[in-house]
């Protein structure tokens, strides 16, 4: 079976491959995460209690404030960081954070990427070709 491929309008960072953690919800490192434990901690978040470490996050949109611009770099220094972040809609803060932390990022698809990718799927994030591949 061939891989399903999705083209992103925005792309940055290294090529990575891993398991997707998917939800139709937003993302902010300050608002949503316990960055010490490496889990989603905001009770209302659809991934509350789940570990994001080493996963390729596939979420709807960037939320919240500006802290994520620093936090991805800090999380990466401790190895408590997502492998990549894939969003329907990104904001400058997440892009700036990915740039500083060298975290792979894709954003902006023709379809709702949170509906197109199954939770737990094996995926490849290829920013050089602006592609998300479901293996």
């Amino acid at each position: 079976m061939s891989a399903r491929v999705f083209k992103a309008r925005h792309a940055m960072g290294p090529i990575v491959r891993g398991r997707a953690l998917v939800a139709n919800d937003g993302f902010s490192a300050r608002y949503d995460l316990d960055r010490i434990k490496g889990i989603f901690s905001r009770p209302a978040h659809k991934l509350a209690g789940q570990s994001y470490v080493g996963r390729i996050l596939v979420l709807d949109t960037a939320k919240g404030g500006v802290a994520t611009a620093w936090m991805l770099h800090e999380m990466k220094s401790r190895g408590i960081v997502p492998l990549a972040i894939v969003l329907n809609s990104v904001n400058p803060i997440l892009a700036q954070g990915a740039a500083l932390g060298d975290v792979a990022m894709l954003a902006g698809f023709e379809e709702d990427i949170t509906a197109a990718v199954s939770n737990g799927a094996e995926v490849e994030v290829n920013p050089q070709e602006s592609l998300l591949k479901v293996i």
Binding site: H10, A11, M12, G26, R30, Y31, D32, L33, D34, S41, R42, P43, A44, H45, T61, A62, K63, G64, G65, V66, A67, T68, A69, W70, M71, H73, E74, K76, S77, R78, S89, V90, N91, P92, I93, A95, Q96, G97, A99, L100, M105, S130
Partner: protein, 415 residues
């Protein structure tokens, strides 16, 4: 991906002629600019950096210290560059249960910023206390509340600039031209009709929160109709800060009120989706956060309080005696005036505390909760209740009057 067009000065920076720090800054900006398809750079007049040490961590502080260790003459910002709240008020660190390690990190950060030429204003209300931007002024502001107020109420032009990017803008004097620097990005994308004009700050914040949830993402620009009268700066401060917090929104227009929206047609094309918001919608958001009747702590913060807010709070504190801690957080510019006017003394006489130069959620809120046993937190800030859930709190949104009553009795009355 199209490469950004650089002018001679930018090519010189990229070639290292201004030293390694501006070069590194410009490379970061090009990475972000090309991600968003920016064609070139735009000059900015001022920058504002969010850099609390909870966000930076040891890694971020070392990164800053690395920049600051560069030769004098090759590391200083080239436009006025100021800071958002710090992660502590050194004079009140004990009250917050903060550790010496946290304070050491703060001191190292301040030292690094000072070597880079950054002015430590430590405020998220610089549009009220330092210098408000003017219409069409391009800036690089690094606090969502500052950006949305400056864009919407002042008519200035800024994206959300996180700490590394705001510092980069300070070091290069420019930022990639994308997002809200572009006139076409500033048009409304949805219309909001309200049937009720709030009067309290928590009501304005809750309305902003409802709109933020509906609008839903950074690129949405709500156009709001139906408000009565002329909102005050503090009201729009809470309105915008909550909208930015709940929805990641950076720009709104109020028809007939904000500078780009003299008429609906100035900002809204025909056929935009229309949403109606009732008083019940705003009250429902507030009620959703009223999850307990007991209160461990009362906090007024996010954004920092203006002198007028502190004056109102002082009036409510007269003749009262608090049974739970009450914290009021303001800027280093407002605090001396609060002291001189006697507001600080009146709040402290009731058992409250006035803190300066920090913001509650940017000050190791999780560790404060664990050190002090504070879980059930009452506030009049919609932004603060939206943030603190992730930090393990049970935040509750109420009026300033109800919050002060709760500080006296330890109970928050349902409204």
């Amino acid at each position: 991906m199209t490469a950004m067009k650089l002018n001679d000065e930018e090519n010189d920076i990229l070639a290292g002629k201004a030293g390694p720090v501006p070069k590194q800054a410009l490379l970061h900006q090009i990475k972000v600019g090309e991600f968003f398809g920016a064609s070139d750079f735009v000059l900015v007049t001022q920058a504002h950096i969010m850099a609390d040490t909870e966000s930076l961590g040891e890694a971020g502080v070392r990164w800053l210290e690395g920049l600051a260790a560069t030769t004098e003459g090759q590391r200083r910002v080239r436009i006025p560059t100021i800071t958002d709240p710090r992660g502590t008020d050194f004079a009140n660190a004990g009250l917050l249960g903060q550790t010496s390690a946290m304070l050491d990190l703060e001191r190292r950060t301040i030292s690094a910023f000072e070597k880079l030429g950054v002015a430590m204003t430590n405020t998220c209300i610089n549009y009220q206390t330092i210098q408000a931007p003017t219409r069409n002024e391009h800036a690089a502001f690094g606090d969502t509340g500052v950006v949305i107020y400056s864009n919407s109420v002042c008519g200035a032009r800024s994206n959300f600039e996180g700490g590394p990017s705001a510092l980069a803008a300070g070091l290069t004097g420019r930022t990639p031209r994308y997002g809200f620097h572009l006139p076409e990005q500033r048009h409304g994308t949805l219309r909001i009709k309200v049937d009720h004009t709030p009067t309290s700050l928590n009501g304005w914040g809750a309305l902003g929160g409802v709109i933020g949830r509906i609008a839903g993402n950074y690129w949405a620009v709500p156009v709001v109709e139906g408000l009565e009268g002329a909102p005050k700066s503090d009201q729009l401060k809470h309105f915008g800060a909550a909208m930015a917090s709940f929805g990641s929104i950076a720009l709104f227009h109020l028809v007939g009120l904000t500078p780009e929206a003299g008429r609906l047609s100035d900002v809204a094309a025909a056929g935009l989706p229309l949403h109606r918001i009732t008083k019940a919608d705003v009250e429902a958001l507030q009620r959703a956060y009223h999850t307990d009747d007991q209160v461990d702590v009362v906090v007024f913060s996010a954004p920092q309080l203006s002198l007028y807010e502190l004056g109102d709070l002082a009036g409510l504190c007269d003749g009262r005696r608090f049974s739970v801690p009450l914290l009021a957080v303001t800027s280093p510019q407002v605090k001396p005036d609060s002291d001189r006017m006697g507001y600080t003394a009146r709040i402290e006489a009731a058992g409250g505390s006035v803190l300066s130069g920090m913001c509650f959620y940017q000050s190791y809120a999780r560790e404060i909760s664990e050190a002090r046993g504070w879980k059930r937190l009452a506030t009049n800030s919609a932004k603060l209740v939206n943030i603190l859930g992730g930090y393990g709190y049970r935040p509750m949104l109420a009026s300033m009057e109800s919050c002060v009553d709760a500080a006296v009795s330890g109970k928050l009355v349902r409204t």
